[in-house]
């Protein structure tokens, strides 16, 4: 059997996890990651990495729940192992609070996280402008540690790395048999998908090691996510904004909103501002496409458009992407079927 040569474009959390899944699950393949940016310069590196899913409009809830559960279970076993620190994964408890009672009082993912329940009156007292809340334990996946860990795992499986900006998927033919497009926001140019747009997020990374819980406003606009090395304060959701430079006024506003929820943050020090452009899209695109041009053929698996929810579903999606790659690989190996591509 010839080795199937797979190229994964994009080295964020989606690209790396997809590459690892392919290397583990697709028999007789070689995997090469090609990207102009690697950690710590990817969009994923800015994300706080808390596992709380964002509902996608057109994907069935059962599928979203499966992706989230697979990701949660996968990271959960890492968190309880000695690898947890190297992978940057740890348990985190906290509260999601609402200024008015949400229509969906129990979200679809309530039984995936641990110990999910409504907040008590006594717990809500400290948030005078909020009337309802959820308390639960979830996982935090520190991308700045997780991504290098994924890179190591990929190397262990024989994966190769190429730093290069891909302008057109056809550049990769005939060197590669299958291309997996994990280029996130880059897909707008790379494959001409105008449905992809940036959702600018600005955050602060501060030193406040006494903060042991996450606090998230139900709208998702204000949040406090403590990690192993810093606490992430956020945030913003600016659709269509491509500006990667931090805005001082926005930083002040974020800090003020977070201090309103957690007054002790006023004593936080060492503040870093970061900006990331989330790969916004009405839906995650996870599907095969057979490209043909001038008699040449290229199998593509698209895997992009995760918006705010990339980390929360990355592993479940990566498993699905690997399955699609496997289908492509089997099709390539069956001579009778090749002409049908």
């Amino acid at each position: 059997m010839d080795t199937v040569r797979v190229a994964v474009v994009g080295a964020g959390v989606v690209g790396l996890s997809t590459a690892v899944c392919i290397a583990q699950l697709v028999p007789q393949c070689s995997v090469t990651i090609i990207s102009d940016k690697f950690t710590p310069d990817t969009t994923s590196d800015v994300a706080a990495g808390i596992l709380i899913p964002h509902a996608c409009a057109d994907i069935p809830i059962a599928v979203q729940k499966q992706w989230f559960r697979e990701t949660f279970d996968h990271l959960s076993s890492i968190a309880s192992s000695a690898e947890a620190v190297d992978a940057g994964v740890h348990l985190l408890s906290g509260w999601q609070i609402f200024r008015s009672i949400p229509t969906e009082q129990v979200p679809f993912w309530a039984d995936v996280v641990l110990g999910f329940r409504e907040m008590t009156e006594a717990e809500l007292k400290r948030f005078p402008q909020y009337v309802f809340g959820h308390a639960f334990t979830t996982l935090k996946c520190e991308t700045s540690v997780y991504l290098p860990w994924l890179e190591k795992r990929l190397k262990m499986h024989g994966g190769l790395f190429l730093r290069r900006r891909v302008e057109d998927l056809w550049e990769l033919q005939p060197s590669f048999d299958i291309v997996v497009n994990c280029s996130g926001l880059g897909s707008r140019e790379l494959v001409g998908d105008s449905m992809v747009f940036p959702v600018r997020g600005q955050i602060l990374q501060v030193q406040a090691p006494w903060v042991k819980h996450f606090i998230r406003d139900g709208t998702g606009l204000t949040y406090i996510y403590p990690g192993a090395s810093y606490v992430t304060l956020g945030g913003t959701r600016q659709k269509g904004d491509w500006n990667l430079a931090p805005d001082a006024e926005i930083s002040r506003d974020i800090f003020s909103r977070c201090c309103a929820l957690e007054p002790s943050l006023r004593r936080a020090c060492s503040m870093k501002e970061r900006v990331g452009l989330r790969p916004g899209r009405s839906n995650i695109l996870l599907q095969k496409e057979a490209l043909a041009r001038d008699g040449r053929r290229l199998c593509v698996v698209h895997h992009y458009g995760h918006g705010s929810g990339g980390v929360s579903v990355h592993w479940g999606c990566a498993l699905e992407a690997a399955r699609l790659v496997n289908e492509c690989a089997r099709a390539l190996r069956t001579p009778a079927l090749t002409s049908k591509l």
């Binding site: 959960s76 309880s80 192992s81 000695a82 947890a84 620190v85 190297d86 740890h90 348990l91 985190l92 408890s93 641990l114 110990g115 329940r117 907040m119 008590t120 006594a122 717990e123 400290r126 308390a135 334990t137 406040a208 090691p209 006494w210 903060v211 042991k212 819980h213 403590p226 990690g227 192993a228 090395s229 007054p263 002790s264 006023r266 004593r267």
Partner: protein, 358 residues
């Protein structure tokens, strides 16, 4: 109402012996309540050890009473008062300076146990779900709730600052007897000498509960994990308690052991027990190791006493014997000590307590 003339004439000379959490919080509580009523409150603290060398400094600082109800029902109220008092400070910008933070976590057991008497004092108390118990394969039952950390060293520094601002003076001296202090011309002695109270007045009920702890850098650990071995007793089973900057590992409680030296055997017991509970600790760097003595007593001693030196009589308030729950109960005890102080003032006709206290 006492005559204004009487209350303005006298100075109350008060000495607090002991500068751990009990001594300093009692001093602050008495000062706050009475300094404006008396013409002059001369308040001093005598201690041979100050932070960071007190037993309070060694405590992990998790607010949590013992599991079984206290033999003295007043202790329940004192625990509640302490929690409520600390919680009111948690939401202030001062919290971090005081060494205060909210923390959630796990209490783990090998068998089902009744809910603790303090379940409605802490926040969000519930039993662990089966999936949560999967994280701890050696245990089959447990609780999850949100409590507080009150870190001894920061809290003592904060109390010291508050007292210093109020003109309270500190003296480093080893007190050999209560008489020695009384002879110095003192109206009230507040005995907060903790595990060493027996040196001032024999107390066969008081004994050391030696504890040893390892402090590590493990900032990814955000929950406390306290395990219980009902047969071997409290604090003899591994516990992992994150603090403001480091994580405290422990699980040693040796009654009657006065050795101040860190023991290698105890180190190994703690390390192995905690690593088994939380495998990620293998990556943690050790930041320090300490020994302290819990002042163990069947119930804490908080009561008045009189000391006769020659023809004179000096008032004493004892406030010691808080075992492993000193930080947990300190403020309620300080309030009660202040009540007892008020009664002393009443008797000296310096002050009439408001009717609700009678």
């Amino acid at each position: 109402m006492p005559s204004l003339a009487t209350s303005l004439l006298l100075t109350m000379r008060v000495v607090v012996i002991g500068a751990g959490v009990i001594g300093l919080s009692t001093a602050l509580c008495i000062y706050e309540r009475y300094h404006s009523i008396l013409q002059s409150l001369d308040l001093k603290v005598y201690a041979d050890r100050f932070t960071p060398l007190t037993n309070t400094d060694v405590a992990a600082g998790l607010w949590q009473p013992y599991l079984s109800g206290p033999s003295n029902p007043q202790e329940m109220a004192w625990n509640q008062q302490t929690f409520d008092y600390l919680l009111s400070h948690i939401y202030s910008p001062n919290a971090e300076k005081m060494g205060l933070a909210l923390i959630s976590g796990y209490n783990l057991f090998h068998e089902a146990v009744p809910d603790p008497f303090w379940k409605n004092i802490v926040l969000g108390f519930r039993k662990l779900t089966p999936r949560e118990l999967d994280v701890f394969p050696d245990y089959s039952y447990g609780w999850f709730h949100t409590s507080l950390i009150i870190e001894g060293k920061s809290y003592l520094e904060w109390l010291t600052e508050r007292l210093t601002e109020r003109g309270v003076k500190f003296f480093q001296r080893k007190v050999e007897s209560l008489e020695e202090v009384a002879r110095g011309g003192v109206d009230v002695i507040i005995n907060c000498t903790g595990v060493w109270a027996g040196a001032l007045q024999p107390d066969p009920l008081l004994q050391p509960g030696r504890g040893q702890i390892i402090k590590v850098n493990a900032p990814w650990i955000k929950h406390f994990i306290v395990t219980h071995n009902l047969k071997s007793g409290i604090y003899t089973s591994p516990y992992i308690i994150p603090g403001m900057q480091t994580v405290t590992l422990g699980g040693i409680n040796q009654l009657g052991n006065w050795s101040e030296i860190n023991s290698t055997q105890d180190h190994n017991t703690i390390w192995e027990g905690c690593c088994r509970l939380e495998p990620t600790l293998k990556n943690a760097r050790i930041a320090g190791e300490h020994t302290g003595f819990r002042p163990v007593r069947p119930q804490l001693r908080l009561e008045r006493d009189q000391l006769r030196v020659g023809s004179a009589s000096t008032e004493v308030i004892h406030n010691y014997g808080h075992g492993g729950y000193g930080l947990t109960i300190h403020w309620g005890c300080a309030l009660e000590a202040a009540n007892l102080f008020g009664k002393i003032l009443e008797e000296k006709e310096l002050y009439r307590m408001p009717p609700s206290h009678l």
